[in-house]
Symmetry: C2
């Protein structure tokens, strides 16, 4: 059931559990046209996006949840490196990255369950280095939306590769009119 602040741990976990298999089904074995090309200078390919999701599993969500539970607002989160994947994914195949994302997500969901969080925990406060005070509930709600924001990006990056090939149909394909929205 969704709580009064529009958040339910079961709903969050339901999405987090499904993202790796959904991305695996979409991307594994696809030709490089779809997975290795980006949208131009300083943009990300599907391969880069999966690398970014992996780095989030390693350094963002669960480490920050632990900082909130152990230190509250007294210790700000470490800053997240948005470009780590360009270093960390080097020499790996997309298939290796998909396997790694699936494994890390599973481990994190096991660790999350072991925390045995209760509704009262969701209002616990932490300190984001840029956003200021945030709650554990907000952190956990952001995790699946971070997945979705990159599914959104991924569909746009892939569609971009056939921007010309669709001819006049480009007028009807909303994804080709998305200009990206990340800060």
């Amino acid at each position: 059931m969704t709580s009064s602040d529009g958040f339910s741990l079961a709903e969050v976990v339901a999405v987090l559990t499904r993202t790796p298999a959904s991305l695996d089904a979409l991307l594994r074995g696809l030709p490089d046209t779809w997975v290795r090309r980006d949208e131009g200078k300083d943009t990300w390919s599907a391969f880069d996006i999966i690398g970014h999701l992996i780095f989030g599993e390693k350094t963002d969500w669960m480490p920050r949840a632990r900082i909130i539970l152990e230190h509250g607002e007294s210790r700000a989160f470490d800053r997240f490196d948005r470009f780590a994947q360009f270093r960390e994914s080097q020499g790996k195949s997309l298939e290796q990255l998909l396997d790694e994302f699936t494994r890390l997500r599973k481990e994190n969901l096991t660790a999350l369950k072991a925390m045995n969080l209760q509704p009262r925990d969701f209002s616990k406060r932490g300190k984001h280095p840029e956003l200021g005070v945030v709650t554990l509930g907000q952190l956990l709600a952001t995790w699946p939306l971070h997945d979705l924001t990159h599914v959104h990006q991924l569909s746009r990056v892939m569609a971009h590769q056939y921007r010309e090939a669709v001819g006049p149909w480009s007028a009807y394909l909303g994804v080709l009119h998305c200009e990206g929205h990340s800060a």
Copy 2:
């Protein structure tokens, strides 16, 4: 290999083959919060989007390919009903729709393969009731991008449900800043 107009039937089929399993992995069994809610008046839920994809399999892509091959520009395509899913999906479960989409896509890809299309076929011309002259290659290139445009929409519709729950993180979540782009 991608042809000079940036289109390859193998690349198109690679995406078309994967979309049903990817959507199934993402959506099957998800709580109603994620799959039955929309973005407000006259917008679509995940459930509506899968119904729309089903109707496309029935009336859009392969029927239009056949019209091009059989009639060329002499017969315009039938208009596509963008609202058919509100009628056709009534009383069905999301799981039934996912099964139906998977089955229809598989049948269509079998029929597409049986057409044994050659590169010279891709320049064959047809008549779209609104866009005017289009080619078979453009139609086939549009099919996977239509999948991707609805993956793009789906991620946005789902994310919308937790717009408030993420608190200050909304600033960083690009998907929450997408206003939709379909004509």
